[in-house]
């Protein structure tokens, strides 16, 4: 799972959960995958992402120093930050780990790079 995908996942489908976001991420095994950097793509993608989850992911991925806690107002000229965001969102591949619902503590395992967000019939 790339951390760009992580930015969209919630546990709100669980009965009684209101927001279910951001999920608490734990990484037990990750891999670095080099991908082509496209500054325009990252810049345009940012408005669609939730910054708190971007920052949260950076902390778990031990890249907290690269990413500011608050989203800078203008980023288009900051190619260095765009590069770091690209690395965080598209080059870190979580192979094993888990996602945890912030409200219920329900664990969603990540196995072989795929988070299993399936819920049982009685949970929804």
């Amino acid at each position: 799972m790339k951390l760009s995908t992580y930015n969209f996942l919630t546990s709100m489908a669980i009965k009684g959960v209101k927001v279910g976001f951001p999920l608490k991420l734990t990484i037990s095994k990750k891999e670095l995958v080099e991908t082509e950097f496209n500054p325009t793509f990252v810049e345009r993608l940012l408005p669609k992402l939730d910054w708190s989850a971007v920052y949260g992911a950076a902390q778990v991925a031990e890249l907290a120093e690269d990413i500011p806690a608050v989203q800078p107002e203008s980023i288009a000229d900051n190619e260095e930050l765009l590069q770091k965001l690209h690395h965080l969102l598209f080059e870190i591949d979580v192979l094993e780990g888990q996602l945890e619902c912030p409200e219920t503590g329900r664990i969603f395992p990540i196995t072989d790079g795929i988070p299993n967000m399936l819920l049982n019939e009685d949970e929804v």
Binding site: M1, K2, S4, T5, F8, L9, T10, S11, M12, A13, G20, F21, V33, T40, F41, V42, E43, R44, L45, K48, D50, D112, G113, I114, P115, N116, M117, L118, L119, E121, V124
Partner: protein, 608 residues
């Protein structure tokens, strides 16, 4: 004689003997038939059969040249050998001496090797002749005289107002009503100018003895078929809802052999020139009938042996009466009226058992067939790719039910994320480095209003109730941001548009080349399924690459491995406008476009 020549003859005999032994060993292991050292009436043709191009006709012609009389031929599908049964031991000896190492009926004129055997293989089944006729089938020979035959042909030929057409393999004319080959039906509201010619009226008093039990006493529709030698008609039943019982067919100008089939049962019936064929009851409703496209027929002689007969041009007059309503016969397998009726209680049962049905007949099946299924899903459908191309750089696109993720790489400028229920299919996509997560389409674990585009291709037809199908659409609408668009494809019940077959139907090569028909395939499938134990809801099993008979069906998936296991996937195929009606129930959503694409109903909707 020179020594070399003598040596040559000895070598040839040795070669023949060696070949003979090898073939006999194959036959012994294939079908447990042993050779006989002393003559019997059973002969095996050791090295030529259906698999290397021999026909029954060719074999009989070769046997006839020996002067021996043959009473039965057993050709086995896919085998390079076949069998003859002779009328007497004397006949058998004549055929053996006349053909063994003599008859050049093999491939490229190769010589045939023969052997006496102890019996016919059990596999050969019974002769297609000497069988009881299907119930309800009557052939009345000499039904019209030669003079009457001439009068009938003349009155039809003279009628230039009749509705003419040429089909792939034969010339047809319609009277009373046109038989529409696209829908295999008639339009009762559009009678033709020319009714059944009055010149045919003299026929009906002649069937009075039979017609007391019929639905009708005078036909209102006549189809005239002209068959040149080599022409045929694929096996079919006349559409139940189109015509009443029985169907009559008058053969003129030439004899022909008609094949009747019901599942594995096959009966050949000779229709002599000037005979009337009556198909009623079981023969009309449950047996298909067809004529093989051949120049020569194999026919029985009065003494019980088989011979060949060259066809001449034949004209058949098929007389029928329109039903004008639904058929309620007692033969549902091929009954279009009964097959299309959805039992009322079924949708309730489906809704009750939706979760377990989907688990068993969708999720478990996809996990088991994931790799093979994935191999068959590689080319993106053009109109889906086009939809994906319409998104701006860095748009976020979610594929709900992405399967092996074949659409995730379509537009390299967007962030495409896929989700699916099947672990097996996700694993395939994962190997291609795609962004994926596992979930159910009824609970998509994605932030509301966060997605620019959503696609769901061939997914929600796997949900077993209208409420659940709507629920999946509701989830797509929820994750879309205002202005975001979704494209949804579902399988259509209707696999034909404007008389054009969908890509799915076009893959049915055997039917398209008229080697068989959907009805025959359906009947075989039915027989196969009856042998398999089934423990789920009593849903009909669809016959692959044929038109759908019902909306809620199980579609077989045959694995490619040696076991050829059949898995059954549940589908709800959509009627016209059904998908649009679901979309109309979604709040804050506007239907932008709906269309039909190769057997699928498709909608594009936008979140307000």
């Amino acid at each position: 004689m020179h020594v070399e020549q003598q040596q040559q003859i000895v070598n040839n005999a040795k070669k023949a003997e060696k070949k003979r032994r090898r073939c006999l060993a194959i036959i012994k292991s294939d079908c447990d038939v042993s050779p006989s050292d002393t003559p019997t009436v059973y002969l095996a043709i050791l090295n030529v059969g259906l698999s290397n191009g021999l026909t029954e006709e060719r074999l009989l012609e070769a046997a006839a040249q020996t002067g021996g009389s043959v009473s039965e031929v057993a050709m086995l599908a896919g085998k390079s050998y076949c069998f003859l049964v002779c009328s007497t031991l004397e006949d058998s000896k004549l055929v053996f001496t006349g053909m063994h190492n003599v008859a050049t009926i093999g491939q490229l004129g190769a010589v045939a090797y023969l052997s006496y055997v102890q019996a016919l293989p059990a596999l050969a089944g019974k002769s297609k002749w000497n069988k009881p006729l299907p119930s309800g089938l009557i052939v009345l020979p000499d039904f019209v005289s030669e003079a009457e035959e001439e009068t009938l042909l003349k009155s039809i030929a003279d009628d230039c107002r009749s509705h003419e057409g040429t089909l792939k393999h034969r010339h047809v004319k319609h009277f009373g009503y046109e038989f529409l080959y696209g829908s295999n039906n008639v339009d009762p509201t559009r009678p033709l100018d020319q009714p059944v010619p009055p010149a045919c009226d003299f026929l009906w008093p002649r069937v009075e003895n039979f017609s007391s039990s019929w639905d009708w006493s005078k036909p209102d529709q006549l189809t005239v078929n002209e068959y040149e030698p080599g022409h045929g008609i694929p096996p079919h039943v006349d559409t139940h809802s189109a015509f009443l019982d029985p169907i009559l067919s008058l053969s003129l100008q030439s004899d022909v052999v008609m094949d009747f089939r019901r599942g594995d049962s096959q009966v050949q019936v000779k229709l002599p020139r000037r005979s009337l064929l009556i198909m009623s009851g079981e023969a009309r409703y449950d047996w298909t009938h067809g004529i093989k496209p051949k120049h020569i027929d194999v026919v029985p002689t009065p003494t019980g042996s088989l011979t060949t007969q060259v066809r001449s041009k034949r004209t058949s007059l098929t007389f029928r009466r329109l039903r004008r309503g639904n058929c309620n016969c007692s033969y549902p397998t091929l009954c279009d009226s009964q097959q299309s009726k959805v039992p009322q209680e079924l949708s309730t049962t489906l809704a009750d058992q939706a979760v377990s049905l989907e688990q068993q007949n969708v999720h478990e099946v996809y996990d088991k067939i994931a790799n093979h299924f994935s191999e068959t899903r590689h080319t993106p459908w053009p109109q889906v790719a086009q939809f994906l191309d319409g998104f701006d750089t860095a748009s976020v696109v979610l594929d709900v039910g992405c399967g092996n993720g074949k659409y995730l790489g379509c537009n390299a400028h967007v962030l495409a994320i896929g989700c699916d229920r099947s672990q097996g299919l996700l694993a395939v996509g994962r190997q291609r480095g795609q962004h994926l997560f596992r979930c159910d389409c009824l609970n998509v674990p994605v932030r509301s209003s966060s997605i620019d585009g959503c696609i769901s291709i061939a997914v929600i037809h796997h949900l077993a109730s209208a409420e659940r199908r709507l629920g999946a659409l509701r989830e797509m609408a929820r994750v879309l941001r205002p202005g975001g668009r979704a494209l949804v494809y579902v399988w259509a019940k209707e696999q034909r548009r404007n008389d054009k077959k969908s890509a799915y139907l076009r893959q049915n090569k055997a039917v398209n080349k008229e080697r068989t028909t959907e009805q025959v395939q359906r009947q075989k499938q039915q027989q196969q399924m009856e042998k398999q134990p089934r423990d789920h809801v009593a849903l009909p099993v669809h016959t692959n690459r044929t038109e759908f008979q019902q909306q809620d069906v199980l579609v077989p998936w045959k694995t490619k491995d040696e076991q050829r296991t059949t898995f059954l996937r549940y589908y709800h195929v959509f009627e016209e406008q059904e998908l649009e009606k679901l979309v109309a129930q979604l709040p804050d959503v506007e239907l932008k476009r709906s269309y039909y694409d190769q057997g699928n109903h498709c909608v594009i909707f936008e979140r307000k």
